[in-house]
């Protein structure tokens, strides 16, 4: 990407193949834009997601709603499960590693997953540090609740950002909060002059070169999806209208009454996010969406996942 010129390390290219460059890593996220990435636990789930038009699947051991109920420590999936999912579909397969758990990430890279999600949905392995993502050939996606967090992750080498929302709730309110927060902070940067940017970077606790990039471009230097609480076609379209470039849907698909139809409907609404008639058509007779929970009930169930990561 031409606009990732400052602040993000680039390698010059020559006549020989260069693998794992930032252009290649962030480029895959560009290919996923306008699409829906679905959480899957089994190969069967993955087939349903692919047939419904998902642009990628996220392999994990349990969907977030179940992680929330089960409690305990949540970790990277069993490699056999990931390989079964890779064998079942031709679309990209992503998988989650715990925050700071660089060995889980190395394992996922060795399995040749297409993206690693360093995810707050799993139990963090390091309470101070995220993974140094520059050391990897495989690209990373990371969650963020605000602009500073997004830019710290990009500074660590993340090639894609997803707003965190609150996974496993079926409640879109936190996804909206985070997308509006990030969008608002980006717009605010655009109003500052050059002399004001160093203080803005200090306040955001983000690298100054990346802050300059965002102020100039009016957008993050990598693709940003929305995640955490999307349960219906209208939810997906809402996140696109708020500036998401695509959506992750976790529990919303496979905790619904009819996963195949819900999945296809969310894909359709994401493509036609500006067309209310098409969203209406996609939303008809889908059966019950996942039940969903209110944010006030979450404290009793172990608190907010979004507060993991810093």
């Amino acid at each position: 990407m031409a606009h990732v010129s400052r602040g993000v390390r680039e390698r010059s290219i020559g006549r020989v193949k260069q693998e794992g460059t930032f252009a290649v890593k962030s480029g895959l996220a560009e290919m996923l834009k306008g699409g829906v990435i679905m959480d899957v636990v089994t190969a069967e789930h993955a087939r349903i997601a692919e047939a419904a038009g998902a642009c990628a699947v996220m392999a994990l051991e349990r969907v977030p709603a179940d992680i929330r109920v089960a409690g305990g420590v949540s970790r990277m999936s069993d490699p056999t499960k990931i390989e079964e999912i890779q064998a079942a579909v031709t679309i990209p397969v992503m998988a989650k590693a715990r925050i700071g758990h660089f060995v889980e990430a190395e394992v996922l890279q060795a399995l040749e997953v297409d993206y690693v999600d360093e995810s707050e949905v799993l139990t963090p392995a390091d309470e101070a540090n995220h993974i140094d993502k520059w050391q990897f050939t495989v690209p990373f996606v990371c969650g963020a609740t605000n602009l500073g967090e997004a830019l710290r992750r990009i500074g660590e080498g993340a090639a894609m950002i997803r707003s965190k929302g609150e996974a496993g709730t079926g409640n879109v309110v936190e996804a909206v909060r985070h997308m509006r927060q990030i969008g608002g902070e980006i717009r605010r940067l655009g109003t500052l002059d050059e002399a004001e940017l160093p203080t803005a970077a200090k306040d955001l606790q983000a690298p100054l070169p990346l802050v300059r990039d965002v102020a100039k471009a009016g957008r993050l230097p990598v693709v940003m999806f929305s995640a955490g609480g999307v349960a219906t076609p209208a939810d997906a379209a809402l996140m696109m209208r708020l500036g998401a470039e695509g959506v992750f849907v976790g529990s919303g698909i496979f905790k619904s009454e009819d996963p195949a139809r819900t999945a296809a409907a969310v894909v359709e609404a994401t493509t036609h996010f500006q067309d209310a008639e098409r969203i209406a058509a996609a939303s008809r007779n889908l059966g019950a969406p996942m039940t969903g929970i209110g944010m006030d009930a979450i404290a009793e169930q172990g608190g907010l996942l979004q507060e993991r990561g810093w």
């Binding site: 290219i13 693998e19 480029g27 031709t90």
Partner: protein, 194 residues
């Protein structure tokens, strides 16, 4: 510009920098009056299902089959091949270079388009079994990664991601040439055309 899914925004930026008026195509009616077409990179399975859902296959075949200059990148190459829209006499081998960790950059010379093109390949396909009308413009490791059949140009890589303008320039040039050959006509609004 087909806009069902993928990196169509990047194509839009390049085309607009080159002075073209761009229209996003999601349903058949969006194709009316287009002078040129771009099929972007994206997930080919998602795009195939989208074309099916929207009933776009017939109208796209009609438009491109009538000689409308077309540029396809990556998934766009796959959509054009004989197993999909059937507008390009090649068979695309999907993800042929491997999974994402095998994605790469390489500098390429494209016959008739330009030299020293910095090409970004992402889970890229290559083209096999080119028909008699197909010219192979570039290859990597002996595999065709850029092919042209008359006014349809398809490549395995992504000029739209690093501001490489020459392929889009080629498209606009072909559109202008086709217009000139057709004689004077009213100014059209068009996807991927000036």
């Amino acid at each position: 510009m087909l806009a069902l899914q993928g990196d169509f925004e990047a194509h839009r930026r390049l085309l607009e920098e080159l002075g073209a008026a761009v229209r996003e195509v999601r349903v058949p009616a969006d194709l009316d009056g287009l002078d040129g077409l771009v099929i972007p990179g994206g997930e080919s399975t998602t795009m195939t299902l989208g074309i099916e859902r929207e009933g776009l296959a017939g109208p796209l075949r009609e438009l491109i089959g009538a000689g409308t200059p077309t540029l396809g990148t990556c998934a766009g190459l796959i959509m054009l091949d004989r197993d999909h829209l059937g507008l390009l006499e090649v068979t695309a081998a999907r993800n042929a270079f491997g999974r994402q960790v095998r994605s790469f950059e390489e500098r390429l010379d494209l016959d008739g388009v330009g030299d020293g093109i910095e090409a970004i390949f992402i889970r890229a396909p290559w083209a096999t079994e080119p028909g008699a009308d197909v010219e192979v413009l570039a290859a990597v490791d002996g595999h065709a990664v850029a092919v042209r059949q008359r006014d349809v140009l398809a490549v395995s890589f992504h000029p739209e991601l690093n501001g490489e303008r020459r392929l889009h320039g080629w498209l606009l040039q072909r559109i202008a040439a086709r217009r000139a050959a057709a004689g004077p006509r009213p100014q059209a609004t068009a996807g991927g055309s000036p």
